[in-house]
């Protein structure tokens, strides 16, 4: 075996071996500047969500009427709201809520939607019909309406927002995954492992799933943007995070009453939502291009 190892190291082609598909994806992503900036922005947002709350000097929830509705200044960078709380501090603290809702709702949606899609695509027939009709029922509701209905049943809290947005993401995942599974299962390597005697479980886990990962990743990234938007909308409507939680949609809703005299109260939370959604959208779009085998060159 040692002889083999040295031969391996001397082989000039060895560098090629470690060039995995992911490196290729990164290289293509690097060429797409907007997507790359989207990616950096996401990293920045995550960083702020983790360390930001420790660095702020104001209290995000303590009411201070002596400083209510202050304009942006050196002390209150983005001004204060109607309860005298520093908007910048609240935005930083709200970042965590936004990202947690975005990521976990999409994760839950994917965990349910992906297996449904695989089962429907892989087995076809009656199972396919049953699963996809169920998905059609979910799709038939306008997403936000479905989410509102769910939250009103579950009660207004971050947890129920996550559940609502997850349910709202299931159909997209199931559809995308079913389509990809249909393509993959017709390929000869699936027949080859089946001819070797592989069980369906092995075929699905080791051969179908790894090959439909790219559409799932792209879809997840784009869905996070939508999830953030829907979660904000729910909170805006008073169904999601409850006061005094510094949730962005909630802040936007509070600022609405002072729009004409103190626009900064609504403006900055609105901008924060735009930036977060934009970051995930740009990155997702770029990732889709980078993962598309047709744009290999």
């Amino acid at each position: 075996m040692t002889g083999l190892a040295t031969q391996n190291e001397n082989d000039p082609d060895k560098a090629v071996i470690s060039t995995s598909n992911w490196r290729l994806v990164y290289r293509k992503l690097k060429k797409n500047k907007t997507a790359l900036w989207g990616g950096y922005l996401i990293l920045l947002l995550i960083l702020v969500a983790i360390v930001g709350p420790y660095l702020t000097t104001h209290d995000p929830v303590r009411v201070d009427f002596s400083n209510r509705l202050q304009s942006p200044s050196a002390e209150f960078w983005l001004g204060t709201d109607h309860n005298g709380r520093d908007i910048f501090t609240r935005l930083i603290h709200g970042m965590q809520i936004t990202l947690i809702v975005g990521f976990s709702s999409v994760l839950v949606g994917a965990v349910i939607g992906v297996p449904l899609g695989i089962l429907a695509g892989f087995y076809g027939g009656a199972l396919d019909s049953v699963i996809m009709r169920f998905i059609d029922v979910l799709l038939a509701f306008p997403g936000i309406l479905l989410a509102i209905a769910l939250v009103s049943v579950l009660g207004g809290s971050i947890g129920s927002v996550i559940v609502a947005v997850a349910v709202f993401s299931i159909p997209t995942f199931a559809r995308v995954v079913r389509g990809s599974t249909l393509t993959i299962k017709k390929l000869e390597y699936i027949d080859a492992v089946r001819a070797l005697g592989a069980t369906d479980l092995r075929i699905i886990v080791k051969h179908v799933l790894p090959n439909i990962l790219s559409p799932i990743i792209v879809q997840s990234t784009l869905r996070i943007a939508i999830a953030i938007l829907v979660a904000s909308a729910l909170s805006f409507l008073g169904l999601g995070a409850q006061p005094p939680s510094p949730e962005w949609g909630r802040m936007l809703s509070d600022g609405r009453n002072y729009m004409f005299d103190y626009p900064h109260v609504a403006l900055f939370p609105g901008l924060a939502i735009v930036v977060a959604v934009l970051a995930f959208n740009l990155f997702g779009d770029g990732l889709r291009d980078a993962l598309d085998p047709k744009t290999k060159k």
Binding site: D13, E188, Y189, V193, A195, L196
Partner: protein
């Protein structure tokens, strides 16, 4: 001793694919891809199935492996009917029958290295203990003419011919008795074709393999087979020894096929027998002899009565053709 039992017996195999349509996906009709065919394959021989696209040759291979569940008929492998096996019995039996595919770019999972591919085959059938799997994979690579240093590479780092070798190594991993080569060399360059064909022949000698070789390329078939089955529209039209078939083709379809093989001598005069029209649809095949719509010799009888596969008097045993007028047709070769 009894005459050796065939390794594989295909008996009245039918493979119909339903066409769904109409309300609630009701079955409207069937594509009769393989329609009642029977043949035997003996140990150690190479039987080729030839025919144009859509004649059911690949479907035959897939039905034998039960990649499709046959609509009717039996596939007896070493006397055991494959069609009635339970799924766990089937998984065990599968190590004896393997397949090599046409498209070397679609037949290997792009996310697996060669080591993963081969070791997975060994793992599925528990051929060798875990600790020795990598070693066995290296052996297999050598057997098919690849270098041990290539074992940790991904499929996209190989050429088409090399990938086909990986496909062969995967099939060999489980020590099969029968390998179905489904257009195994059709996607390759002529020079690579020759290499792969020679490799297959050598493996046959070394491991006492039996091949069912599915191809549309008569040149390739001539090189590798012992016996040849000619299929047309889901039926066997002629079955014979290679020599007998090439020298005395009986069925008009076989004759037309043979006349289409290009020769190496540009001056040689070959008489092509052009066939009129297209292959009829396997959804609604012609009555009587399925070939009558394109046959230059077709008579009234061919339109009504379906010819059976029969042996002809002055031909050697085993040469059978399904034509009412076989033997009376003008001699061609």
């Amino acid at each position: 001793m009894t005459a050796s039992q065939p390794l594989l017996q295909v008996i009245n195999l039918k493979q119909y694919f339903p066409i769904k349509g109409g309300f609630f996906g009701a079955t409207v009709n069937h594509v009769k891809a393989v329609d009642d065919i029977s043949f035997d394959v003996h140990e150690g021989e190479t039987v080729s199935i030839v025919g144009e696209s859509g004649c059911g040759k690949s479907t035959t291979g897939r039905s034998i492996l039960r990649l499709e569940h046959p609509s009717a008929g039996e596939v007896r492998f070493q006397g055991k009917d494959m069609v009635s096996l339970s799924s766990s019995e089937l998984r065990q039996t599968r190590k004896d029958l393997q397949i090599i595919f046409q498209d070397p770019y679609a037949s290997i999972n792009p996310r697996q290295t060669v080591a993963d591919v081969l070791m997975e085959a060994l793992e599925i059938q528990s051929i060798v203990p875990k600790a020795q799997r990598r070693e066995r994979a290296l052996e297999l690579l050598e057997t098919v003419g690849l270098g041990a240093y290539q074992i940790d590479r991904y499929p996209h780092e190989f050429s088409g011919g090399q990938r086909q070798r990986i496909g062969i190594a995967r099939a060999l991993a489980v020590n099969p008795k029968l390998i179905i080569c489904d257009e195994a060399v059709s996607a390759l360059d002529v020079s690579i074709q020759a290499q792969i064909l020679n490799l297959l022949k050598q493996l046959q000698r070394d491991f006492k393999l039996t091949y069912i070789f599915i191809s549309h390329d008569l040149g390739v078939v001539r090189h590798i087979s012992d016996r040849i089955i000619v299929m047309y529209l889901g039926k066997i039209v002629e079955i014979a020894d290679k020599k007998s078939l090439f020298e005395k083709p009986q069925h008009p379809y076989t004759q037309a096929l043979l006349s289409s093989i290009p020769t190496y001598d540009p001056k040689a005069k070959t008489e092509r027998i052009p066939l009129k029209g297209d292959v009829p649809s396997p959804i609604d095949p012609p009555e009587g002899c399925r070939f009558h719509t394109r046959c230059p010799y077709a008579q009234e009888r061919c339109r009504v009565e379906e010819p059976k596969l029969v042996n002809l008097k002055d031909l050697q045993a085993g040469h059978e053709a399904a034509c009412h007028y076989a033997g009376d047709l003008p001699e061609r070769n």
